[in-house]
């Protein structure tokens, strides 16, 4: 079970989920590669590919909301940032992901 094979499998599954929602993998390949490697490690530990940048609470209802791709559970927030929290996915028209902010929903005035 190699990390590279698992990263490729995750790319295959995730692309089909995020594309209909208007997102794509970040063009920052180094960031995508790092985040996917972290998700493979989290999947090995917990059996589930959690977001590498959000807390696992051991509260199932809340933890299910950070299973990658977690966009559906944070749609308004991520659409406002044009990226997901960890930055693995960005809106399809984004070419410069470094220009996208990482701000809480509260800071964006969404709560």
């Amino acid at each position: 079970m190699s990390t590279d094979s698992r990263k490729n499998a995750l790319r295959h599954f995730f692309a089909r989920i995020v594309e209909p929602m208007g997102f794509k993998f970040t063009p920052d390949e180094e960031l995508a590669d790092f985040l996917l490697a972290q998700e493979v490690k989290l999947e090995e530990k917990h059996g589930i590919p959690f977001c590498p940048c959000q807390p696992i609470r051991r509260d199932r209802a809340r933890d299910m909301q950070i299973v990658c791709p977690c966009i559906p559970f944070h749609r308004k927030h991520f659409d406002a940032m044009r990226r997901c929290w960890c930055g693995l996915f960005v809106h399809q028209d984004v070419t410069d992901p470094t220009s996208l902010p990482q701000m809480s929903a509260k800071d964006l005035g969404l709560e």
Partner: protein, 130 residues
């Protein structure tokens, strides 16, 4: 020395589909990945469940029992099982004891790669090299 053996008519497996065949005492699953056929062991490398009862997505088969995943072009194991969620209810004592006991063993079960065999289509049939 391996030889190709006639396994199943190609038209019997729709694209994205899987069928099990038994040849010379060994069970295989034949997968139709968008028109290209692959042959793998029938038995999941995790706990031996029949893989044709799982799902095929591209060239990745997911076992229906615990969701272990394999690459049908190489047999490589891509993911182990997904942990079962048993809910918040406290099970009856004997059930709880059984679940804990089984859990101890399952923690030590590894997901191994599965056998993968050359397959070709000839004369409308899928042939597998044994």
């Amino acid at each position: 020395m391996s030889e190709f053996v006639k396994a199943i008519r190609a038209e019997e497996i729709a694209p994205g589909g899987m069928r099990t065949v038994e040849l010379k005492g060994h069970q295989f699953v034949v997968c139709n990945c968008g028109g290209t056929f692959h042959a793998i062991d029938r038995r999941c490398g995790h706990m031996n469940a029949p893989l044709e009862m799982g799902t095929l997505d591209g060239t990745i088969v997911t076992c229906g029992m615990h969701c272990a995943q394999f690459d049908v072009t190489t047999g490589e194991a891509l993911a182990g099982p997904v942990p079962a969620y048993l809910g918040n209810e406290v099970p009856p004592p004997r059930t709880g004891a059984l679940l804990r006991n089984v859990g101890l063993f399952m923690q030590n079960v590894r997901t191994e790669p599965i056998g993968c065999y050359p397959a070709k289509v000839e004369g409308g049939w899928v042939w597998i090299a044994l």
